[in-house]
Symmetry: C2
Subunit: 327 residues, 2 copies
């Protein structure tokens, strides 16, 4: 796939999640040359997981007919609070990790300079660096997938706040006493507009007797439903899916308005698996709702757009980090 | 009140609001030496209002037995989007102003260097400079009064975002389809926890037959109710007021949790007239609710406290601005 130049000028971007590890190899110009996915197996603990990360990286490099010698640096986005200076994972609720020296362990295993960031910050950085031109002074990325996360970039740098946890827009309460969220609270944005929330609404509606083509496509239990299935159902004119997706877009618009009122970033980018599949159906509603809810004058000139990076936002941002920090 | 030193080393802070103008004279060490209040009379338009600001400033200076010659610079906090570089009011919905050259007009009227900021940014700056030691890298001030506003200070400077309107936490939607807000939306934080919201809840409850000592204190119409009346009612064990204040504190705690999740500032300060009167009754509930709603690990070490500046936050912050910018 890639020509081995003999030079040490490529980058690795790793997206470490609670269920999967994605490693991508990037050219000096940040073109993705190839990638490999593995399950995380968090039950094996930090050591076992980081060994899998290293294997995934080696596989990705081999996939691209390169060698570790061709890699200048590796960036990794990890799900939780990360201290980027030390490259230490402060805590990661999904992985049940505390105080894991990511950078140190991976540098030892791979013999490469390693740089770490929070996963959503990495996604936002990837969007900022590869999709926005000219560069805005401030941006927020909102990523809708199984959960909802966010990352803030101010003056070109990830903003992570006091505990390195800023950007957690998924747990912004939008509806006091709304539906229960995985975090234990009620009415979080994530409980209203994530893939999990969409699926739950559809499943509940089906249980209550509402009709949808999804049952023809996936069976009465709606097993293995994916965001792409919702897109197919929309194309077939499914009213239930239309209603549920519209509602999620409205909630997303309200969340975006809250961000406009509060942080007033120059650009707001929507990404993640849900947007990747449903941007055509959601984006216009998100923008209309956001402009409607934002205070007069506050949304003027602010761009609201969809990322095209999809699931590659994390590895792209991690590779951006590797290139930046190894300069 | 103050000794005229003959030096040009004092500062003026002006808080320009939709209903009143407050001007304060400050010593070189930012001690408030005296202040004068006037009604705004927005119906007279920008020229008429700014003439009143100048008169209010002259009165305040005279009140302190000083002269304009003793003033080094004037700062002004104004209600809306302000371009601090040009000292221009971009727009002010309450005053119905657009593009008013605050700095230019006031400098001409008073013969002093003038510096302008958004009013809530000024309040936050006042708290930051005079109440916090050591200085946090990031803070947010939340001001509960007739409405609710906020200001963000990052690395010692007001953060105002793309349209100079950041910090508008009052219009963060917390309860989709909640009570109607003055801005036209529903369920804004301001519609749930401002003085206006508290009073409306109490008035509605009284209409529905609930009992409160406030009717003994103020008559059946609850005319001219103030935050201080709520405090008095609480001291007399009033159950209705207790319930309403508790609810407002819970909503405030949820708003604070949203800020912790999203912006993760090192310090969150609660101020404004409502907190000034009711901090003893609200602060503990705000903190408990915020820590409960914030994601695990995100609130660690973050301070949540009440400002003691009360209604003087605006003039104090404006004076801070004057001192900073005239250095």
């Amino acid at each position: 796939m890639a020509e081995a130049t003999g030079k040490r000028d490529h980058f690795i971007g790793v997206d470490l999640g609670g269920t999967k590890i994605l490693a991508g190899v990037f050219s000096p110009q940040l073109r993705c040359l190839g990638k490999v996915k593995m399950s995380t197996k968090p039950e094996r603990g930090p050591e076992g997981v980081l060994e899998r990360v290293a294997r995934c990286v080696n596989e990705a490099v081999d996939e691209c007919d390169l060698q570790l010698d061709n890699i200048k640096a590796l960036g990794i986005g990890a799900p939780g609070a990360v201290d980027p200076e030390e490259g230490r994972m402060i805590f990661a609720p999904n992985l049940k990790w505390e105080n894991v020296p990511l950078k140190k362990v991976l540098e030892k295993q791979l013999g490469l300079p390693v740089f770490a960031e929070n996963d959503c910050n990495a996604c936002a950085l990837g969007v900022y660096e590869t999709e926005l031109d000219p560069k805005p002074r401030s941006m927020m990325g909102i990523f809708l997938g199984t959960g909802i996360g966010g990352g803030i970039v101010l003056d070109g740098k990830p903003y992570s706040g006091f505990n390195r946890t800023a950007g957690e827009i998924g747990h912004m309460v939008l509806e006091v006493n709304g539906p229960k969220c995985g975090c234990g609270n009620k009415g979080c944005f994530e409980a209203l507009a994530s893939r999990t929330a969409l699926f739950r609404r559809i499943q509940n509606a089906v249980k209550e007797g509402e009709k949808t083509v999804l049952t023809d496509m996936l069976g009465p239990e709606l097993a293995d439903m994916r965001s792409g299935d919702l897109r197919k159902a929309l194309r077939r004119g499914d009213k239930l899916v239309e209603k549920v997706v519209e509602e999620a877009a409205e909630y997303t618009g309200i969340a975006v308005a809250n961000i406009i009122n509060l942080l007033n970033p120059e650009v707001i980018v929507l990404g993640g698996g849900v947007m990747d599949q449903l941007a055509d159906d959601m984006l216009a509603i998100v923008i209309e709702t956001a402009r409607d809810y934002a205070l007069p004058g506050t949304a003027k000139g602010i761009e609201i757009l969809a990322s095209k990076l999809g699931d590659d936002a994390g590895i792209t941002g991690a590779a951006v980090l590797a290139r930046r920090e190894s300069k």
